[in-house]
Symmetry: C2
Subunit: 248 residues, 2 copies
């Protein structure tokens, strides 16, 4: 569906069997410096490594469900993961898309609070929550880092509230494209095309729209030469006008 190797060199991390200890050591980990692990020195990393397990998740399979008790926490090492909440009647809100380096289980509450499903093949670094928490207790730098990450997520969530509460469909899509591009740019050398590993329905569920409105708006942007549709993504033709639509 979407070739992650084009997007993130990180995807080249050697995959290992689900649940097994992995040959890739932390000090060779390609997301270490952007993940929460960046807070640790070499010794501490070794400690963390002893409780780490690696997992490969196939596209469209669940990592965890929102109602699950969070016995584990994760760091994503490659791929894209969709985070969402469902209403009983089937309506869905995608609260975010997680990329390599992102941490899942920040809440340290007993439940995850949202479901996670892989959009691409993904590799995760998995930690038993109890053991992770115990380790965290002894590493103030790690707690600080977790808090830093959590408060950054909170700021992003508040921006998303503005998008959902106060913007029109075209502004929402423009915001999404601009923000997505910024995130990917941080992870890889700037590429001419912007990969969109998520489907139209996922974008709609993220922006509080329907798939039809997303499709129409994408088509309109393409007609107006703001973007160009390419397989599994878009090419941004007029970043300036796109940013103007996205305002702030």
């Amino acid at each position: 569906m979407f070739d992650t190797t084009n997007v993130r060199p990180l995807a080249s991390v050697k995959p290992c069997h689900e649940g097994s200890a992995c040959a890739t050591p932390c000090d060779a980990c390609q997301v270490r410096l952007v993940s929460v692990c960046a807070a640790l020195d070499v010794d501490e990393l070794e400690q963390l490594e002893t409780i780490a397990q690696h997992a490969v998740i196939q596209p469209r399979s669940m990592v965890f469900h929102e109602a699950d008790i969070a016995h584990t926490v994760y760091t994503i090492t490659s791929g894209t993961v969709k985070l969402y909440k469902d209403l009983p009647d089937g309506r869905r809100q995608v609260v975010g898309f997680a990329l390599p380096g992102d941490f899942l289980g920040l809440a340290l509450a007993d439940r995850f609070g949202f479901s996670a499903e892989a959009l691409t093949k993904a590799t995760l670094c998995r930690f038993d929550r109890k053991r992770f928490t115990t380790l965290v207790e002894t590493k103030p730098a790690l707690i600080r880092r977790l808090h830093q990450v959590a408060s950054h997520e909170l700021a992003l969530a508040q921006e998303q509230m503005v998008i959902l509460g106060r913007r029109r469909a075209d502004e929402r899509l423009a915001c999404f494209l601009v923000r997505w591009r910024e995130r990917l740019t941080r992870l890889q050398p700037d590429s001419p095309t912007l990969p969109l590993p998520m489907g139209r329905q996922d974008i709609a569920d993220h922006l509080g729209l329907t798939i039809e409105t997303v499709s129409r708006t994408v088509s309109r942007f393409a007609r107006e030469r703001l973007i160009l549709n390419v397989p599994d993504g878009v090419r941004v033709l007029d970043a300036r006008r796109l940013a103007a639509l996205a305002v702030g």
Copy 2:
């Protein structure tokens, strides 16, 4: 406008002159056990107290602006504070309402990221950010508490995303009333009436609606005997049907 003493016994904390050191010591603080300060023991509280200043904020006055550099952080000791973000064209999103015990400045980023304005007379415990951060560095329990609070806020923000992205006007209002009631119940013995210190426009800006839609929906709820309008608030008549509208 809205008599806080009816709502929160916390409002009876003796106010002191803006910016002056306050006579109320931390160990007599009525929000201590629900605030971040709960993470500290008596000795540590004394240290915190040395860098605390108290401030009284009048209704409708700003505590800080979203673009301000965050030189200070705050704990609310009484009153209600509106937290919001503005778009250049005047559209506004209220990202939350802060109550006694709530902490402002979690981000520990250089800017606040949202504006804060008092809805009622409010009293705040103010800390110089640098000094607070320095203190935090030496108190792992406090960092953990800050992270706990931040991740709880994140979970709330994600619920708000569902409300804004996927719910109809009446469901949004029902969610808001249910959640607001839960928060107030935690702070005070259950009262028959639910005070709403914020105006209709604030509710609208929080729920991604217009003032007219909020007004109409409140009227409809009253007509259908879900709630009863009272001065500066509502009385919930049928909590069950209200919760059913709020779903999850």
